[in-house]
Amino acid sequence: MRGRLLGPLLAGLGSLALGARLGAQAAPPPSSAAAELEAVAALVEKGQLEPAERRLRSVAERFRSVRALLQLSRLQSDRGDHPGALASLDEARAIAPNSEDVLAAHAEAQLATGSLLPAISTLEALTRLAPTGARYHHLRGVALLRAGDPAAAAESLLEAQRLEPDQPETLAALGTALVRGERYAEARTHLLRAASLSPDSVEALASLAEAEQGLGEGEAALDHARRALAREDGHPTANLVVGMLLIEQERYPEARDALEKAAAGDPASAKAEYQLSLVYARLQDEARSRRHRERYQAALEQAEQRVKEVRDWTGFSTGGMQR
């Protein structure tokens, strides 16, 4: 019975639910800052973005308005001025270092500009400030994954998944992080769920294929990899899986082609380079095999260096967060 009547009644109760007034807040006259922001909204509505930006900058300077800075950063970002947007958000953060909106906008701008380590810090602050916000844990996990630390990423993504269990994006990212950490069986569970919730997710299918390949389930892996490639034929993970499975079947030229695509799609992939060194060795092309072995070594060192940089920054250790 629990909750059966709630839906229809909540609509009628909405005004009460949102009716609490801020403590001792008198009904104020609209301030000049608020009036100016309304005028800015009208300019944006008319598509007059340059004067809108000028006016926002002026409001921000005169009133130290965080809202104006947030709006300004959005306009800057929309016209591709990401450094400008970041500068506006830096200013906003200096005024309100613990505003959720500011931190969230800052994190997104940092992610958009590829400033992964600062983004991770900002997202860490957000997860402390709003620990039940699954999205912040998700974004932090994705940022850590992009920065090259799948173990730390998995922790964040597990927390996001605990808070919102059925988000396909989170499940796919979590599965990918676990695959990178060679935790294939755990990864498969999450990836199967992601694929069932979002059958079109190429990421989920490709990572699922990689997990199955890791578990020695070649047939299922090939099936999922091919389904991923049917949606995106250059997908590096799916091509990698296909390449590795074709090596097992000793179909070296086809394997080579798939692995070349994998390496082209993800130039930082040590795994693709290693497999290419193997396939060229089987094809008796020693020079290419050696070249890919060298690239593999370089990619491996770069990956280790990236993990070190991330961990120097975050203090993460595989024994847990150093906090």
């Binding site: 019975m1 629990r2 909750g3 059966r4 009547l5 709630l6 229809p8 009644l9 909540l10 009628g12 109760l13 005004s15 009460l16 639910a17 949102l18 609490a20 007034r21 801020l22 403590g23 001792a24 807040q25 104020p28 609209p30 301030s31 800052a33 608020a34 922001l37 009133f63 130290r64 308005s65 965080v66 809202r67 104006a68 947030l70 906003a92 005024i95 309100a96 270092p97 613990n98 505003s99 959720e100 909106d101 500011v102 810090s121 602050a125 402390r128 400030l129 709003a130 039940t132 916000g133 699954a134 120097d312 920054w313 203090g315 150093q322 906090r323």
Partner: protein
């Protein structure tokens, strides 16, 4: 540097720190936050309110600690940590609070994280070294200082501070190098006095004497050199048999330069008393009192008077000392001494009863000041320590008022903000309102807001108490009454919902409320009334499948099985997917003993609604009665996952485990069931 010298030299132990008013600072931040609200600048307002929470709880940590309420201090510190701000000054302040509370390891963690991100921040490094040292990791502390002082800082103030840090770690050579840079940068006799005093503080008496002597050679009239030489002689265990005489000479020399200096007079008086010269000591203490009527100087006057066998005057002086001690929030050590001397003086005047009281007080303070590892005495340099107990109580009250207000407004912002209205946002809002209620449950609108937030977060059982209080305060608020009624329905307290729904002004026109009313009547054992109500509703234009199901249940509960089945069948014709139709049929079959059909009906209900807990429970119970414990356990486990607080589910699950020969799991379920059953 001149600022450092002028600021530090006369401050230590000489003058009471200016009484701080952190509450006023927070009130200003609240005013600023509300100004931002008026401008519609919600992100800025949120940031300011959160700042109030961090700074307010940070200050409360110190206040509670100073008053010896360590559990409350820990709780305040926990709250400050939750709302810590991601800026170096705020994180350093948080770490300082952990250090004050004796949590050096936690302080080090906070600072290590900050130092990773701000490696050139000298202040962070210094504080980290202090925390590491307090945590017993001296080598790591020295490493921090070595990294911070390589290359040595150009700023002499920074060099001085780093030098003092090395001193506390016992690294005298490193300190000496840095102090030499300070003296080179500021070649003044005052600089040497500062360095000399620092050596004295660290117990390096030879170096202290050398530096203070050098200061006097540069300027024989430099202030404080003689004073600190006297203090060095007193502290030095190797000062020899003429220790007191030498110190007296130094203090007298200092008083030649500044005859009204209260502290020099006080120290001279103490030496004279220790040397058995109370007649000389008395006018010296009196001079200290004239300069500054502090408790410790009055205590000296009383001691000298008592030594001169003038007990009545001593009693008067020591009473004044106690008065001043109360105003100045004196240390337990001084209080113990004043009470002890007052007890002795009173005994000499024949007031034995009062004397006994003061001597007992002296013993109590002695015990309090001797508590080892008591963080309440860890930082008497906090400016808040200078406040009287009454001032601290008032400050605490104002801080809590600001905290309650900030929590409340943050709760409202969560519920009404950009992404407001989601369960997650209401959960967050409820958490802020709960914090506000923990501080000031009477805060205006708080109980109603807390109830509404909990209700919207789906925490119906938790919503009942605040909604009940809100309804009691505003009995005419129909919205609150309705929400309370729905909370009772959702917690299956059917009979409590009935009067609230009956009084709802919209009941006659709102079909959902009519259904709710009918449900409450049926489930609270008033099936006949429910039947009349529902039949009346069905006669009108509002016929619905749900009404027919409920009417079927009303018939079933009165034993009118045929009518019940007919009503449910009508419901299914209107809407084959209507909720609880099959469950209601199962109820009829159970009452008729047609258990096989009841089972099939429950399975049909679960096919449409796999998460319907009552059907899972009833099916589990039926299967159990038939000895099919494995499937019963499966169904009941599913029910327990969905409703872990339902004691009937846990009880049946325990029985299932018992049948399956899993006694430990059975015992756990029975215990959980009993625990849940007695919970309000």
């Amino acid at each position: 540097m001149a600022g450092l010298l002028l600021g530090v030299l006369p401050a230590r132990g000489l003058a009471a720190p200016e009484a701080p008013d952190p509450a006023a600072a927070l009130e200003q931040v609240i005013a600023a936050a509300e100004g931002r609200l008026h401008e519609g600048d919600l992100p800025a307002a949120e940031g300011l309110y959160r700042r109030v929470l961090f700074e307010g709880w940070r200050t409360l940590t110190t206040l509670e600690r100073l008053d010896g309420r360590l559990a409350e201090a820990k709780e305040a510190l926990g709250n400050a940590s939750v709302f810590s701000i991601d800026t170096p000054p705020a994180l350093r302040s948080l770490a300082a609070a952990h250090l004050e509370m004796g949590e050096a390891g936690r302080a080090a963690e906070v600072l290590e994280e900050l130092a990773r991100k701000e490696p050139r921040d000298l202040e962070t490094r210094r504080q980290l070294a202090k925390a590491l040292s307090a945590d017993g990791r001296v080598e790591a502390a020295v490493r921090q200082l070595d990294e911070a002082s390589a290359p040595p800082p150009d700023d002499p103030e920074q060099a001085y501070l780093l030098g003092t840090d090395y001193l506390w770690l016992g690294k005298h050579e490193a300190a000496e190098r840095l102090f030499a840079r300070v003296i080179e940068a500021r070649p003044l006799p005052q600089t040497r006095v500062l360095v000399g005093r620092t050596w004295r503080d660290a117990g390096a008496y030879g170096r202290a004497r050398a530096e203070l002597g050098a200061a006097l050679r540069e300027d024989p009239a430099v202030r404080r050199a003689h004073y600190y030489l006297g203090m060095t002689i007193l502290a030095d265990p190797d000062a020899g048999p003429r220790r007191l005489e030498s110190a007296i000479a130094e203090f007298r020399a200092e008083l030649e330069l500044a005859p009204e200096d209260a502290l020099a007079n006080d120290q001279l008086g103490r030496c004279l008393l220790d040397a058995g010269r109370p007649a000389e000591a008395l006018p010296v203490f009196e001079a200290a009192v004239r300069a500054e009527p502090r408790a410790r100087h009055l205590y000296g006057v009383g001691r000298a008077q008592l030594a001169l066998d003038r007990p009545a005057e001593a009693v008067a002086s020591l009473r004044r000392a106690l008065e001043r001690a109360g105003e100045q929030s004196a240390s337990p050590d001084l209080l113990q001494k004043v009470h002890y001397q007052l007890g002795l003086a009173l005994r000499k005047t024949g007031a034995n009863e009062e004397a006994t009281t003061h001597l007992a007080e002296a013993r109590r303070h002695a015990a309090s000041s001797a508590s080892p590892g008591d963080p309440s005495r860890a930082d008497d340099t906090s400016p808040l320590a200078a406040l009287s107990r009454g001032q601290r109580d008032e400050l605490g009250r104002r801080l809590r008022a600001s905290l309650a207000r900030a929590c409340f407004n943050l709760g409202v912002l969560q519920a009404q903000g950009k992404d407001g209205g989601t369960v997650e946002r209401f959960t967050r809002a409820a958490a802020f309102f709960e914090r506000a209620a923990g501080i000031d449950p009477e805060f205006p609108q708080l109980q109603a807001s807390l109830g509404v937030a909990l209700f919207n977060a789906g925490r119906f059982a938790d919503a009942v108490p605040p909604l009940g209080r809100a309804v009691a305060a505003s009995p005419g608020d129909a919205g609150l009454r309705r929400m309370l009624a729905l909370s009772w329905l959702n917690t299956e307290e059917w009979s409590k919902a009935v009067p609230l729904l009956e009084a709802d002004p919209d009941r006659a026109t709102n079909p959902s409320l009519q259904l709710a009313h009918g449900l409450a009547l049926v489930r609270s054992g008033r099936a006949a009334e429910a039947e009349r109500l529902l039949a009346g509703l069905l006669a009108g234009p509002g016929e619905s499948a749900a009404l027919h199901v409920l009417l079927g249940e009303a018939y079933a509960r009165q034993g009118e099985h045929a009518a019940a089945v007919a009503s449910v069948e009508r419901a299914l014709r209107l809407d084959p997917a209507v909720a609880e139709a099959h469950a209601t049929l199962a109820l009829v079959y159970e009452e008729q003993g047609r258990l096989g059909e009841a089972e099939q009906a429950l399975r049909a209900e679960l096919r449409a609604r796999p998460a319907h807990v009552p059907s899972l429970r009833r099916l589990g119970t039926l299967l159990l009665a038939r000895g099919e414990a494995a499937e019963a356990a499966e169904r009941l486990e599913a029910a327990a996952r969905l409703a872990p607080d339902d004691h009937r589910v846990r009880e049946q699950l325990g029985r299932a485990y018992q049948q399956l020969g899993r006694p430990e799991q059975a015992r756990q379920e029975f215990e959980a069931s009993r625990r849940l059953e007695v919970q309000p």
